[in-house]
């Protein structure tokens, strides 16, 4: 695999065609939740609804655990996955906070203070990973 120019950006997965192939069914499942009837069906029995999709077991477990970092590792994209947290009645800020390991309160306060600073966050070497 060729080295991608964005490989050294810390804490970031770029949704490129390879990730899109990996995440095709996961993302299509998420988008099915744009329909109210499907949201109800999913909420009634998440596991049964997930089993209707040709997703990997790993992807299904990540959805059940609402582990958004893991979903993205497995090809999810935030704008597709947004349908899952919207179905849960949660905001982009809630979902973003969950991916940083911060509490939602601490994350919201960081944003009020001007957000995560670029210093130390532009290259992996700066923050060791």
């Amino acid at each position: 695999m060729t080295t991608k120019p964005y490989h050294d950006i810390p804490g970031t997965i770029i949704f490129d065609p390879e990730m899109a192939q990996l995440g095709y069914h996961l993302n299509q499942f998420a988008n099915s939740l744009m329909q109210a009837a499907n949201r109800e069906k999913f909420k009634a029995n998440e596991r049964a609804y997930l089993d209707e999709w040709a997703m990997s077991e790993e992807q299904k477990q990540a959805v059940l655990a609402r582990d958004y970092n893991q979903m993205m590792q497995l090809g999810g994209n935030v704008y597709f996955l947004a349908k899952i947290f919207s179905t849960d009645g949660l905001s982009f800020q809630h979902a973003a906070a969950s991916m940083t390991g911060m509490t939602q309160e601490a994350y919201a306060q960081m944003m009020l203070n001007g957000g995560r600073r670029p210093e130390g966050n532009l290259y992996k070497e700066q923050n060791n990973g």
């Binding site: 299509q28 939740l33 993205m72 179905t87 982009f92 973003a96 991916m99 532009l122």
Partner: protein
């Protein structure tokens, strides 16, 4: 003949739409943001555009994993607000201008910009939040709107240069339409933000303000900035800013800055907003 008179740039954060829809605009969190849009609310009443060519991105709502067009022009008579997972926003249906859209399609494709032509497309917060910010809560949008969706979800999106050049071709297209129309071009999205991963919450005020400066008076060089600079410095979703270059390319080289606003945060995002007019030749 149709003429482009002005441009508007604005972020299109979904939480801004939710704040309006839920009546939270006077809350201390939101009040400073909406104050930044008071100017444009008055200005638009004086400008009375007939048509807005509205550049935005679809957030996996009209286009799922099956089709992701790089540039898609909405040619239908109307477009419904999308249900993004919590029900559609309570905003008016968007009325298009099929004749002008068809003319632009013809002209841009002949000019080597290979558009995807769309006749049915629900429009998401990327398009409706800018309309709400500028027009407020209205029964019907007071003008016609041509939605122009740019892929910035699946990497790589079109380059800044490609967007800027498309803007220039768009101007030629609009100005060759025989009807006498006052047309505005809006560019939306950005500014710095990252919605994913351990780096979520990234805001880069220096990058954003440099972008605003150069969009106004150094757009030729700004267009040359490569993707990697956007995603590294302005966040994985900050790449949306390339769409502002379509608006800029469609305007005169010399523009008059009427209003500039910058605010952090709206939810996860830095909000930028410009109102610019073409200087009279």
């Amino acid at each position: 003949m149709a003429r482009i008179t002005a441009g508007v740039a604005t972020s299109h954060v979904p939480a801004i739409g939710a704040a309006m829809d839920l009546g939270k605009t006077e809350q201390p969190y939101w009040q400073p943001l909406f104050k930044g849009y008071e100017y444009v609310r008055q200005w638009i009443k004086e400008q009375k555009p007939d048509v807005i060519f509205l550049v935005y991105n679809d957030h996996a709502n009209a286009f799922d994993m099956n089709f992701i067009p790089t540039f898609a022009i909405g040619c239908a008579p109307e477009f419904k607000p999308a249900d993004e997972g919590w029900g559609a926003r309570p905003v008016p249906i968007v009325k298009g201008h099929p004749a002008l859209a068809a003319h632009i399609t013809q002209s841009l494709i002949q000019d080597n910009f290979d558009l995807t032509v769309v006749h049915k497309m629900d429009v998401d917060h990327g398009l409706t939040v800018p309309l709400s910010l500028v027009f407020g809560q209205v029964e019907a949008w007071p003008c016609l709107i041509i939605p122009f969706a740019v892929n910035v979800v699946l990497y790589p999106p079109p380059s800044g240069q490609r967007c800027y050049d498309l803007g220039k071709a768009l101007r030629k297209a609009i100005e060759s339409f025989p009807e006498d129309l006052n047309v505005q071009v809006w560019g939306t999205g950005g500014m710095s933000h990252q919605l994913q991963g351990p780096r979520a919450g990234l805001i880069n005020q220096a990058f954003d303000n440099d972008f605003l400066d150069r969009l106004i008076d150094d757009a030729e060089n700004l267009a040359k900035v490569p993707h990697i600079n956007y995603v590294r410095e302005a966040g994985s979703e900050g790449i949306e800013l390339v769409m502002w270059l379509i608006m800029r390319g469609a305007l005169n080289d010399e523009i008059e800055l009427k209003h500039r606003f910058y605010h952090v945060p709206a939810s996860n995002t830095a909000v930028g907003h410009l109102v610019v007019e073409n200087k009279k030749a």
